[in-house]
Structure formats: structure tokens, C-alpha cells
Symmetry: C2
Subunit: 309 residues, 2 copies
């Protein structure tokens, strides 16, 4: 059984931690968001890809949800000496990943190839595809009239700006990475991870051909709502959805995916929203979606698969 | 009084530590060897330039003579995960320097510009010029028939191979960096640091126009022999000179520089070589040249300047 997951960062990584407990990694393809990618000091950083890899390899800093466990920050401190901004917390071990990725890209490799190399170095056996090998940059326009690169909005300014609009620079010409459309077309199940529908899953859906592939795949498509009781566990998805005129609840998630989603898994807290979701033509499945430990991650993955089997 | 120093790595850095005690940094220009430069993991490393900067900034690891004091090696260890060789000991703080240099080079800066940025970041006020902004690569051919990049010979294989020949790839087309020929032509004193005549000073002399500028400058040219009693304090200069058919003593140093050198400062241990040096047309000055502490570094610099004032 082939399972393809559309993934952002922390929420997706936690969902995948459950999935790999019950499905062989060889049967899993993850399509990762690259709109968050940023260059720091000339090094290409792919936060969502790395969060998934580090998490599934058991190397993640579990307190922050990003970066490697037990990190030091000596290189970052030293980079400050040269006038660089150092608000993006790149640890010394993490930096090695970015040095390697950048080296491969400079030597002509694609992001897909660099990603595969990192996946293998961390001992993983799943397939992890960046949604595109072409550069996509998520840009946030604020109500105050500023234009911020995603990491500037997300990390430097801690999502405190009110968002007026979001766009994905480069999206018109970005082609799906090799294997992306095939992984959607040929999957048995497609899972949309509990990630931000706007800035994590949004860029994936905006790449040429991806949304159409989701609409036409023979696979069942099941999503997990990242919004519980009108709030996200982490990140700005609720506020961002509201700012953009979307309903900042699981219903809004259903609406965002209504043209391709078969099932939406929502939290018990949102049981009352089930009829509204059903009204969008999507079947709601109610369960415990907050993943505190390995057992809850596994249970959520089981529920997701059972919902479409 | 303008003083220009032709410099390799550790020996030159120690000599310059003495010089900056008695001459304002603003009056000093250092022309650095770049034949040792190497790319590791796609990062450009300029060992001789960095040794001089770190030493003069008081940041050097004084036990090794290279790298930063108090270093950790987390990034290097992590790079091993991706299959890179990790025999070149790049610390986490040091790595920041190479990330910055590489970033500037990728953005179109010259090595001269990147070097100036690093010099300034370390709070130095002297002028440090790479001998060329073009790539020069010192290649060692061994008696066993192998061809080794310099760092492979020097660090990985600890200078254990017997050397048959040394060449500088790229030297035919390498142009002197901006300011190099001027710093030689317009200096009052030119000091050839106690560096390896073959692989540290050799590449400088081989760059188009440099040797001719040394021959025709109005400055007095004074060298310090890195060979004492037929041995080097550090490094393979003695063995290398012997392998290449040079006399592996201070006399051989004099012979290597005879077409432009006015004075050669030699160690008291080599007092008996003074007549042989005089016979090459170079005036020998005998002093204590082993630099154990700040006072001895200063004393050597004073002797060098006094010899040509």
C-alpha cells in the first residue's frame, strides 16, 4: 500500500512519526513544502524538509520541534562577527546539513537529489520529495504594508504581524519535482498532514499540476485538521486563515481542500462541526488528534488510514 | 615607513606578532600565500590568510598554531555523516569564517574583498592581500608517483611522502591581486617572513610580476631564514628543499632569494654559515630567531628592521 503525505513542518513530522509505526517507510512518500526555504549566509536552509528528517530520525530537538537535539551554536555566534543577522537558530550540527545541501546544489544537483542524500545520511528509508526543485518563496504581506520573507515573519517577528495577504514567488514557473505527480497519481492513500493550509500545504497545492493530480487521483484523500477548537497547537494558521477571509476552524480546512478531499479527521473538541464539514461534501471522522506521545501519534495514523481503507 | 611582508602561515604569523609590537598596523601590508587554499564541503578555506588573521587578533589556538582557541568541532563531525572526509580540522567558529568567505565569493566578491572583510571583522588594521585573486593550487608530486593537493600532503598525510616536485596549478594565468605590486614597489622595507621558501613564499614569487617587482623595488628586502641548523621548527621545508635539490640550510634560503634579497637574518646556531651567505651577495645578520614569547618576537622584528634601516 502506497501512502503519499503532503507535509509542512512540525505538525507533519509528528503525524509521520505515527505513520512510520504502522507502515513500512518504503511505502511512504512525503511531498514537502519548500516555500519556507531561505538562504542564510549563502547556505540553503529547507526548514520543513529538515524538520521531517530530523524528527523521523529521532534527532530532533523535541522541546522546540526544530533543529537537532543537544545543539551548540558556536558557528552562528561567530557569523555574527561578520555582520550577519543571527535570529534564525542554526546549530552547529544543523549547519552541516545546510553546508552539504548547498554544496550539492552548487555542484549542479537538484534539491530533490540533495534531499535524498540527507534522508539517506539520516538512515531513513521513506521517499521525501520537495514539491519542486524550482525556487518558491512564501512572502507575507502585512496589514502595516510590509513585505516579509516567510522566515522573517515566522521566526524573526514571531508571527506577530497581522497578515493581509500571502503569495508564493516563483510559483508560476515552478515545476513539480520528479515523482511528485506520480506519487499523487499512484498512491493508494493520500494524507494531508495537520499543517498550515495557507503556508505549508498552500504552496504544494499551487505548484502546477499538483491540485489537478489530487482531484483526479484514484487514491482516497484524507486530511487531518490542524485547527482544533478554532486554534492551532503551534503557529499562526488560525489567525492567518481569519486574516485571509477563511473560516478559522476545521470547517475552513475542509473548505480549503473541498475539491479533492474525501475525508477530514477532526478533533473530538470539534465534534459539533461535523455536520458543517459533511455539508461541504467531505466525510468527517472525529478522533483525538492532539499527539502528545508515540501511542497517540500511532493511534492518529491508524484512524487516518482506517478512515479511507 | 611602509613595511610589506611576504607571508606563509604559522612562521609568518609569529614574525608579524613581533612586527605589530613596533610598527603601527596601518603601515603594514601582508601579501599572503593562497596556494594552500582548498575547498572543503564547498567552502573556501584560506589557511595561511586565516592563520595570520587569527594570530594577530589573539584568537589563534596557540597549541596548534592554526584554528581558533577553544574550538568545538560539532559541524565537522556532523559533516562526516554525509560522507565527507574530515581530516582537515575545521572548528565551528572557524567554519563561520569560511562560510562568510564563500558567501562573498559566490556573490561576486574577490578573495581580496573577502579577506578585507575578515581582517576588519577581527579588528585588525593592517592590509592583508592575497597574492592573487585567481586560484592557485600548490600540487605536490611524490616520489611514489602520486599527485597530492597541498593540504592532502600537509594535513592528511602529515608531510610523510617524499616529494619529487612541486607545482602551482593556475600560476601561468594568475594575476597579482590589486595592490600587490604597488605594495612591493612602494614599500620602504620588504620582509620575507620565516616561511617555507618552496610552498609558502614560492607561490608568491611565481605570480606574474612579483619577482620582478622585488628585484626592482627601491625598498630594502630582508628575509628571515626558516631553516635553523638544517631543520625547520615546524613543517617540511628542510626535507622539501633537499628533495628539490636545494641546500637545506640558511644558505639554500639565501640562494632561493639571491636575485632580490639584500639581507638574510639567520639564527645564532647558523653563525658558521654567514660567509657562505655573504658569498651569494646577501648580507647575513646573525641573531636569535626562535620566537618563544612576545619579547623574542619583538626582538626579532627589531633586528630585521634595524638590519635594513
Amino acid at each position: 500500500m502506497n501512502i503519499t503525505t503532503l507535509a509542512g513542518g512540525v505538525g507533519a513530522a509528528r503525524f509521520l512519526e505515527g505513520l512510520i509505526q504502522i507502515v513500512p517507510q518504503e511505502d511512504i512518500t512525503v511531498i514537502s513544502n519548500t516555500g519556507d526555504d531561505e538562504d542564510f549566509f549563502g547556505l540553503r536552509v529547507s526548514p520543513d524538509i529538515d524538520i521531517v528528517i530530523y524528527t523521523l530520525a529521532g534527532a530532533i530537538n523535541t522541546e522546540t520541534g526544530w533543529g537537532l537535539a543537544g545543539e551548540t551554536f558556536r558557528a552562528l555566534e561567530a557569523l555574527g562577527r561578520f555582520g550577519y543577522e543571527t535570529w534564525f537558530g542554526l546549530g552547529d550540527g544543523d549547519l552541516a546539513t545546510h553546508v552539504h545541501r548547498t554544496n550539492m546544489l552548487h555542484n549542479g544537483a537538484t534539491l530533490s537529489q540533495a534531499t535524498r542524500s540527507i534522508v539517506e545520511a539520516f538512515g531513513l528509508r521513506l521517499t521525501l520529495l520537495p514539491v519542486s526543485d524550482d525556487r518558491i518563496r512564501t512572502i507575507v504581506e502585512t496589514v502595516a504594508g510590509e513585505t516579509l520573507a516567510f522566515q522573517e515573519y515566522f521566526v524573526k517577528r514571531r508571527t506577530e504581524d497581522e497578515v493581509r495577504d500571502v503569495r508564493f514567488d516563483g510559483i508560476e514557473t515552478a515545476q513539480p519535482a520528479p515523482g511528485v505527480l506520480e506519487a499523487i497519481a499512484n498512491a493508494d492513500i493520500i494524507a494531508i498532514a495537520p499543517s498550515n493550509p495557507v503556508v505549508s500545504i498552500g504552496p504544494l497545492l499551487a505548484v502546477t499540476g499538483v491540485r489537478e493530480a489530487l482531484r483526479t487521483t484514484r487514491a482516497k484523500v484524507v486530511g487531518v485538521s490542524p485547527i482544533i477548537g478554532g486554534k492551532t497547537i503551534k503557529g499562526p494558521a488560525d489567525r492567518m486563515m481569519a486574516s485571509l477571509g477563511m473560516t478559522p476552524t476545521a470547517v475552513g480546512v475542509a473548505e480549503a481542500y473541498r475539491d479533492f478531499l474525501d475525508v477530514l479527521v477532526i478533533d473530538e473538541e470539534d465534534r459539533a462541526l461535523a455536520p458543517a464539514i459533511e455539508a461541504t461534501g467531505i466525510r468527517p471522522v472525529v478522533t483525538q488528534t492532539i499527539m502528545r506521545g508515540p501511542a497517540e501519534k500511532r493511534a492518529l495514523a491508524e484512524t487516518v488510514l482506517a478512515a479511507v481503507r
